[in-house]
Symmetry: D2
Subunit: 344 residues, 4 copies
């Protein structure tokens, strides 16, 4: 059994890691830390775990050595104690934004302050297996992924990979998100009476996850617009782009199917009948799938490419466990088999 | 008192007309027709009207002459009996799509079949006061408006009116809508268990309301992408466009404020603090307001312009009553004073 | 014009008062106070009020004399400065729980601490017109009502008034409530991701509003059980009781209709067809109606009596304005005419 | 491998069976039938199953012999072809209401028509392992369970089993349910715009599931009141009863813990802190747990006992698979390990 611990176990990302790792056949959880909930049973915070574990939250200063350490703290913390944490485990997977960007200058540009551990940036691999499976498999340090970045990256991946996109035309990604993106702390707008029933465009430009799309796909003229809708889990990215002249439906089918064939968690959804004809996050709650689909206006070359994910799974903890599987040489889908629910 | 009747009173648009006209100080409702609910009290279908009216649904073949006739039937019906209906009232306001487009060719292109009464198309005025107040004021025949078209038209109106938009760049309008858009009949995807929690992009291209935006704003390179979200009433249109070189924030403020100042139901929403900083449909339920706002990426000239409305009010019945007020020389806001609710 | 001010204008009850009083034809709002939002426009907190008022929140220590003062502060505050506040206005309507109970001992029993101004308790009239219309009409000091108490009181009123209830059998009231009951501050369980989709029985026994039902209806063996559900506005009280031997359906119809006939905001809802056959809060958002209905098991005498209201309207601010109308000799329904929406 | 087929695979119960059996390590699905969706891929109806199976819906008249046959048809069908179906499999689990009651007279009383195969009633065992584990383990024919009956039965089981309940006092069970209870066909009230935001008491008395509670628990003076709320999956039963004189909190703790200890899918939820202090269905979506809890008014002996389940899992398909495991001598929890999600 591989031993693992989770730093920051009381947030939503930490809770999802606990759920996944408790069901993982090759892993034993040693500790989950939380300052706020120190000494409480983890099931008092994550009530779904009741009758599955008697683990209590422990003090982050009492961490013991393990094989794999997951960091699930709020952004901006891991970079301050990465030196110390790296002494506790040979392999670290950090779900926060601290080590996603390779360039300290980019970090400062998008996060508004200098990075506290810039020399560590080059030691981390960006943790999206659909983009960097080989590197992750041999890495010791893997970053997490931004949920909105992941939906955007996977919506655009087939087009970029097959070279079908017209890069001179700006790419506009419209992203709709559920409330769990705001985390277990939330903000004044997260109060149910204010957050229910919303269609709230909270960021027209400049969302930090944009940096991950630029870095990973090499697209430079791209913007992400973020709109909150009434849902707890889920992201849908709808990317508007232009395909190169001559690109036809069959080229697109080929490109999308290729990505789905190479990646166990990617599915193409493009149906002519039934209720579920396009990617939708609602059926993905708890699953690690990324559903992708597209539609093309053949007259103008305008393509609408969609990707739906569960922001806490494929957009965070699910992908982190998928990375762990690769890093440990386990089957990539181990512990991530949950199919998802319908209806829900 | 002006006498009015409603043809097709059992649908959502008809119900909203009943609600508004029952509260209108200068109007007396004579009849509301419904084949399906013939003989039932209108409050049995629209339960909010209980204790306000003892009106029963009457037979559409038994319509009596009135001053103003509202047509709120499903699309495709009014054009088949407009000759007969026009004998019953000097003024007709048709909420359906039948008389929104001026060109029979456009109608056939977007609706997939020839128009049954093409000579009537030129007799109707497009019923959005923010675009055609003067013509409506002297018109006898006024069309309804598409709810998505209205949100799009009003999102873009300040830019078009002030000549700030770069028309050579495609305009992409991302529209998020509530379930009441599907009408009281719905479809298989409207079942609560399938429709709850959705983020469902049901039309990437080619939505029929696009024709109304092209016709009214003169923009030709424009697309509407429609996504259903979990909400009953409400539309948010988020338009992505490019402003002309040199256009700055102050030009935009001026353009948006001008439209708000000229139109009693338009408000600019662009706050630096609080929860409600941008246009949001949730607080507009039941109100006739259209809230508009914008954000500009000064580096690229990419503008995100938003408009939120209640699809059944400003997007349908509210605007229809506003047109009636203009046609009758009444105060434009009469009977449309409901402020909207917070929280909701 | 009657001048009014609102102490505590930034909460949900205060916001609803502002909405109603802005639309009231005989009232002029002088001030609305808020410490937290001092100096802000009221529409920045209550975005529905935009374009309706330029009022800003003022300092509670700067209150000026008016005809009617509404107190909409959190519970426990008004009792500490009622002496001072009563110097500012001849008529006071307090929405909080401070002056609902007539007995200081009862207050201490249910609220867990002694009342700070016990001599004032007898000066206030319980502000539910359906129970105390005559007293309210001549009162200078009127208390607010608990929303859950109001739904319970009105569900049981027809039975109590007609003497149909078997008082030796315990009355069990199951109450389902929306999230706006928790107020604009909320609590940790109010976060959207935790509060969405809930069916959460947060109080099995001992809810404070029970005291108001005992006091007003004279029922002693009664319990209220509170369950939160996914809705913003609305309360449904479902009361289980036993009718006296021999009570038949026709007696019940008579009793319920009598209450509806005597009260402009009470409606009986009991239909054999359609979707809306029983009282439901969703269509009451923003309206001041209380919809009541019932069902009887004739074999056992078990009656299920229901009452649906909007907690912020009939359960708080709407009833407060109704009381003001009575206190000022105005038409009881003035400014409270909003019909409610369908669908919503 | 055990071979299984599902008759009626396109409904919600059938879809959930497919999901569970696809993930079951000891089972191979041979056929799933559907007349409406004949020839379609099962993932076109149940989109969560995409990339997990290439199974297509087959013709119910083309069923082949298997080890276990699941019947998931609408109520009233299995009783008409049970003779024929029993020729196809040695073991049958029928999810419908057809074989839940042991008495043909009871069936006629509650379902309003005579049973078509009364001699089969005694061959079936009521399929709730928490009540009849031993009989199920040796049975060939097992009925399904009503979801509302299951929540009621498990809420009351600790009290009945320990003999703590005062049977002379009527038991009132208030049940709140999600929309998936109405099935994939729904009804006019199931349309999202009508069903969203509801608190709708659709059955005050006489719900058919009452018969299952009377039969299984032996309580005769019991009523179920059903209220629809805005949720897709989930049931909460809140039972109001009276405990025998002298029963104290410690007796109740003992009784509830005993039931939880004897049953792998039962958990006691009764916390003093945190957000999740009582049983709640939202965290149970997809899980087979039944969470039970209670509160006692020691002064009156009034007990409120709660049970939360996922109606499609513990209330239908999950319990059916649990029965299959028992009938086949497999581990009772096999294939039912999904933990449930938080937040959701």
């Amino acid at each position: 059994m591989t031993t693992v611990s989770i730093v920051g176990g009381s947030g939503y990302g930490g809770g999802e890691l606990l759920r996944l790792l408790l069901g993982h056949p090759h892993v034993e959880i040693k500790q989950a830390t939380s300052r706020t909930h120190l000494g409480e049973y983890v099931y008092q915070v994550h009530p779904n775990l009741r009758k599955r574990t008697q683990l209590k939250f422990s003090d982050p200063s009492q961490l013991e050595p393990v094989d794999v350490l997951f960091l699930a703290q709020p952004h901006g913390q891991a970079q301050h104690n990465i030196d110390q944490l790296s002494g506790l485990a040979g392999k670290i997977i950090d779900l926060s934004a601290d080590f996603r960007l390779r360039s300290a200058a980019d970090y400062e540009k998008w996060y508004g302050e200098p990075h506290a551990a810039p020399t560590w940036l080059s030691k981390f691999v960006y943790g999206l297996p659909e983009l960097r499976r080989v590197e992750i498999s041999s890495a010791n340090y893997v970053s997490g992924v931004g949920c909105n970045a992941t939906a955007s990256n996977l919506a655009l991946l087939p087009l970029v990979k097959a070279g079908l996109i017209e890069t001179s035309t700006p790419v506009i990604v419209e992203i709709k998100v559920g409330s769990s993106e705001s985390g277990a702390e939330g903000n004044s707008g997260s109060l149910h009476a204010e957050r229910a029933n919303v269609i709230r465009t909270f960021s027209a430009f400049g969302h930090r996850h944009t940096a991950e799309v630029i870095q990973e796909l090499g697209l430079t003229d791209i913007s992400l617009t973020m709109t909150a809708v009434d849902l707890v889990r889920g992201v849908l990215a709808t990317a508007h782009a232009k395909v190169k002249p001559g690109v036809a439906m069959k080229d697109l089918w080929k490109a999308y199917r290729a990505v789905a064939n190479e990646n166990p968690f990617v599915r193409v959804v493009k149906e002519q009948r039934g209720i579920y004809r396009v990617p939708e996050p609602k059926i993905l709650a708890g699953s690690n799938y990324a559903d992708i689909g597209f539609d093309l206006d053949e007259g103008t070359g305008h393509i609408v490419s969609m990707c739906a994910i569960d922001n806490l799974m494929k957009g965070a903890s699910g992908t982190a466990v998928q990375c762990m599987n690769l890093m440990l040489g386990l089957g990539e889908t181990t512990g991530l088999e949950f199919i998802g629910l319908h209806p829900i």
